[in-house]
């Protein structure tokens, strides 16, 4: 399995295309999008950034720095990537430095999104590290005049059998790592892993629990001033009048920035900026033009909009016929990211060079957008990722970066910090889109699904990369830039149709995606994208069909699945939960089950839940949840567990409580009073996560795999407890009570 790899340095430098026999990552190739290349490309993001020193740098003093174009969002990536590099490079974990997304220093890996980071960056780092190590060994072999086979690596040194050692720092020559990666690498045998797959404490947590510098909100460059934006009251509002005189005279105010409909104030001290913002907001006059849909009739409003219809999946077997048919419609409202820390950015414009510190998910696309907005070359902007609070997708971060850049330009030289207010984040962030799904299914006489029909109506689920036009500052400034035309995200990943194609095997199936370009409410990517609602719908409907068949929900699913890894997570979750066919929950409780494979190509997750429903008040509470997850080769078991626990709780909040509210003109859910999320009074008694590790298998993205199954599992448990099926998210206390009372 592990044939030796010999990388001849001369041939590598000459860009020789010699094929190297090695252990290969077949999985990585299978997941590449687009047409197969003429020459095999290196795996992951090495395909677009093939130079090894884009990823690994070794200094003469033996310091090793790892570069990733991805961002730490709180998932623990810094730690995971460090684990990967430490493992493949054979350096001590603690000795590594990791640099994340920075347009000056790291590769362009697009967005940290879509649960692609392990697959893109993790794979790239793994292979780059392995190849760097191989180069170092080859160099040592030359210098020590021994064969490469006889050498081993440990703790940043290459060691010969006779005990002679050379540190990596000694070995590395100036441009030695400036070579392109090979398509395949010799990776370590998972059975020998010392760091990968081990529970390593996260490297970012110590600072976060001791008040160290950790977030973009903590940046305080010398001479920094504080800015606040005054946002319009609604989409498209025009600033008709604003007397800024009084505000300009307020204590500490440095400048009022007015550019078309973009209005902001800058002050020396932060609270001065807040007070000036309030005064400026009071002085501003707006002409509002927004026409928002009727909130009480949102599904109908959505479906009335023009749509482009695509059949994305079809399978037909006329020999199989259904005899019993049911239909169901499921709906989801707009939902908010609701990041705990409102968006923030710092920007400084000196001598034609702009630096922006931002918690954007994509430093390169954001740089391009800001460059377009300011009409300056992208090369004159450096965009550095600094952590913010969890973003869960496209929140206000990119907009805050644009705000800061625009204001910094008006205040040449001084670093400007823009902090969004809570109300601004709630009202202006792009939401997760509202969706409608219609399902129809029939059973044959044997109780198996004979026919499956699934239709989904949705906006796009991403307005990125959208250039400048996707950012509020650019839309609002005088020479405004129009928002880009929305485009559907292509399959197999998909957007509104993510996970719309069922993973189950049905003899007859048809899946239709109704793509709606018109966006009456600002939307973009939110964690799991369409998968949250599509999995909620599919897995709720599977239970409805199981009920029709008189079958146990778990058994019913297994009957329609032949994929072994899917079956394994289902069986694991059921077993660990104590799921028994024909079980009966206590009188005020219900049991529910759900499963999905995120995007049908990322991590697998099954969730079994026990829910308690108070029949007098309708209040539903998650009592316990048991999850099983298969994410391929596990790098950080604790990080993975944390992600799945978090996904279950976050999804519980979305599913039981959350809906953006609005009137005819404005968003009205503008703080935690009006957009409540889960608090400690609703936290379950326990959540157990069982990991099925697959050593040697490709990494599968797991940051978004739990949300859909958790939602459906809850809905199924509530149906089990009450005998009533709820299909309209969120499953609020009032809706449950009305269903019980009906």
């Amino acid at each position: 399995m592990n044939a030796p790899v010999i990388l001849d340095r001369r041939r590598v430098l000459a860009g020789g295309g010699a094929l190297i026999v090695s252990f290969s990552l077949t999985g990585a190739f299978a997941q590449d999008q687009g047409a197969p290349p003429t020459a095999p490309k290196p795996p992951g993001s090495l395909a677009t950034s093939p130079y090894l020193d884009s990823w690994i740098r070794i200094d003469a003093d033996n310091t090793v720095t790892v570069f990733t174009g991805k961002a730490e969002l709180g998932q623990g990536f810094k730690t995971a990537f460090q684990q990967i590099a430490a493992e493949e490079l054979d350096v001590a974990f603690d000795s590594l430095k990791l640099v994340t997304a920075d347009t000056k220093l790291t590769a362009n890996e697009g967005y940290t999104a879509g649960s692609n980071s392990m697959h893109n960056s993790g794979v790239a780092i793994q292979n780059a590290a392995a190849q760097v190590r191989a180069l170092l060994v080859a160099e040592a072999a030359k210098r020590l005049d021994v064969t490469a086979d006889s050498l081993r690596t440990e703790n940043g040194s290459v060691i010969a059998q006779d005990g002679r050692r050379m540190s990596y720092g000694d070995l590395v020559a100036s441009d030695m790592l400036h070579v392109q990666a090979q398509p395949t690498s010799r990776l370590k045998d998972p059975a020998t892993f010392k760091v990968m797959g081990q529970p390593i404490p996260r490297v970012d947590i110590p600072a976060k629990v001791t008040g160290g510098m950790a977030y973009v909100q903590d940046l305080r460059p010398p001479g920094m001033v504080h800015a606040r934006v005054v946002r319009p009251p609604s989409y498209g509002a025009k600033l008709t009048d604003c007397d800024t005189d009084a505000v300009e005279k307020m204590r500490g105010v440095v400048k009022v920035v007015r550019d078309g409909n973009f209005l902001a104030v800058v002050a020396d001290k932060e609270f001065q900026a807040v007070k000036a913002m309030q005064a400026l907001a009071a002085a501003a006059r707006w002409q509002e033009i927004a026409r928002l849909p009727k909130q009480n009739d949102l599904p109908a409003a959505l479906m009335a909009l023009p749509a482009r219809d695509t059949t994305i999946f079809q399978h037909s077997d006329t020999s199989v016929r259904g005899s019993k048919t049911i239909e169901a419609t499921y709906t989801r409202p707009y939902q908010a990211h609701g990041s705990i820390g409102p968006s923030c950015a710092v920007s400084q414009f000196i001598d034609g060079a702009m630096t922006v510190w931002s918690h954007t998910q994509g430093v390169y696309p954001d740089r391009a957008a800001i460059a377009e907005m300011l009409r300056i070359p992208p090369a004159s902007i450096r965009l550095i990722h600094v952590e913010g609070s969890g973003c869960y997708g496209h929140n206000g971060a990119d907009d805050a970066a644009a705000d800061a850049a625009l204001i910094a330009r008006a205040l040449a030289g001084r670093p400007v910090r823009v902090q969004w207010m809570r109300e601004q984040e709630h009202a202006w962030e792009p939401f997760g889109p509202a969706m409608v799904t219609k399902l129809k299914g029939s059973l044959d006489d044997g109780g198996r699904i004979a026919d499956w029909h699934f239709e989904v109506w949705s906006n796009t689920h991403s307005m990125r990369p959208g250039g400048a036009g996707a950012m509020l500052a650019a839309q609002h400034m005088a020479e405004s830039i129009k928002p880009p035309e929305p485009k559907p995200l292509p399959l197999p990943e998909g957007g509104g149709d993510r996970n719309a194609i069922p993973i189950y095997k049905f003899p007859n199936a048809r899946v239709v995606h109704h793509f709606i370009p018109d966006m009456p409410v600002r939307i973009s990517a939110m964690r799991a994208l369409g998968a949250y609602h599509n999995v909620f719908s599919i897995e709720s409907f599977m239970d409805e069909l199981a009920l029709l068949a008189g079958a146990d929900p778990v058994e019913f699913r297994l009957k329609h699945l032949d994929d072994a890894r899917s079956r394994d997570v289902i069986e694991k979750a059921a077993q660990e939960f104590g799921w028994r066919k024909g079980q009966q929950a206590p009188s005020d409780r219900g049991f529910g089950f759900a499963f999905a494979r995120y995007k049908n190509l990322a991590a697998y997750c099954a969730v079994a839940s026990e829910v308690e429903v108070n029949r007098e008040t309708g209040r539903a509470r998650l009592v316990r949840a048991v999850a099983a997850v298969d994410s391929g080769q596990v790098v950080s078991p604790d990080g993975l567990t944390n992600q799945i626990e978090g996904a279950i709780i976050q999804s519980t909040s979305w599913t039981l409580y959350e809906a953006v509210t609005f009137d005819d003109t404005r968003i009205t859910s503008i703080d935690w009073q009006t957009y409540p999320i889960l608090r400690f009074d609703a936290v379950p008694d326990r959540i157990d996560v069982h990991i099925i590790n697959r050593p040697g298998q490709p990494f599968l993205g797991s940051g978004e795999t739990g949300q859909g199954p958790a939602a459906a599992s809850l809905a199924n448990a509530i149906a089990n407890a009450t005998g009533k099926r709820l299909r309209n998210l969120p499953l609020t206390r009032k809706r449950i009570k009305d269903a019980i009372d009906a």
Binding site: L73, G74, Q75, G76, P201, R202, D204, I205, P206, A207, K208, V209, T210, G211, G212, M213, A214, Y215, Q217, D218, R220, H226, K269, E270, F271, V274, S339, I340, G341, P342, E387, G388, S389, G390, Y392, Q419, M421, R422, D638, N642, Q643, E645, G646, A647, I648, I649, Q650, S653, D671, W672, Q673, I677, L678, R679, F680, D681, V683, P684, R686, I687
Partner: protein, 165 residues
Amino acid sequence: MMTLKVNGKDHQVDADADTPLLYVLRDDLKLNAAKFGCGLGQCGSCTVIVDGKAVLSCVTPMVLLEGKQVTTLEGLGSNSAPAPIQRAFMEEQAAQCGYCIAGMMMRAQALLQRTPKPTDEQIRGELVLHLCRCGTHMRIIRAVKRAARLMDTAALTPASEGSAR
């Protein structure tokens, strides 16, 4: 100008009486732990301890701090010498993005100072003022219970931890 006592030290602060404590801590004293989450007293990210009690610093104007002692997370311990609550959160890896965590820890610290062996229900009841969007709740509860155990053993040693000075 007023004197503000933070983490045992006096600071001369130039802030108006109506300035919320949070801005003074972060901007004047350059302390990172207490965070701006909402500025409305709805999320708990700004929590610090004043005279032994947990307080939302974003809605606490400076006028209320005359002669009182403020303790922030930085005052409890450091990376090299972490307080039990800090050790507990590190050992439980009780954070995802971590933005809400400092506030949670201060609330928990205040609870543990007056209720050394809190029940699950008491912990949840105290923390209901705090929001965590990443869903780290289970670990946070485990970390608070762990801190209680650590403080229990620490109390056996002369240098007691975490009391408001």
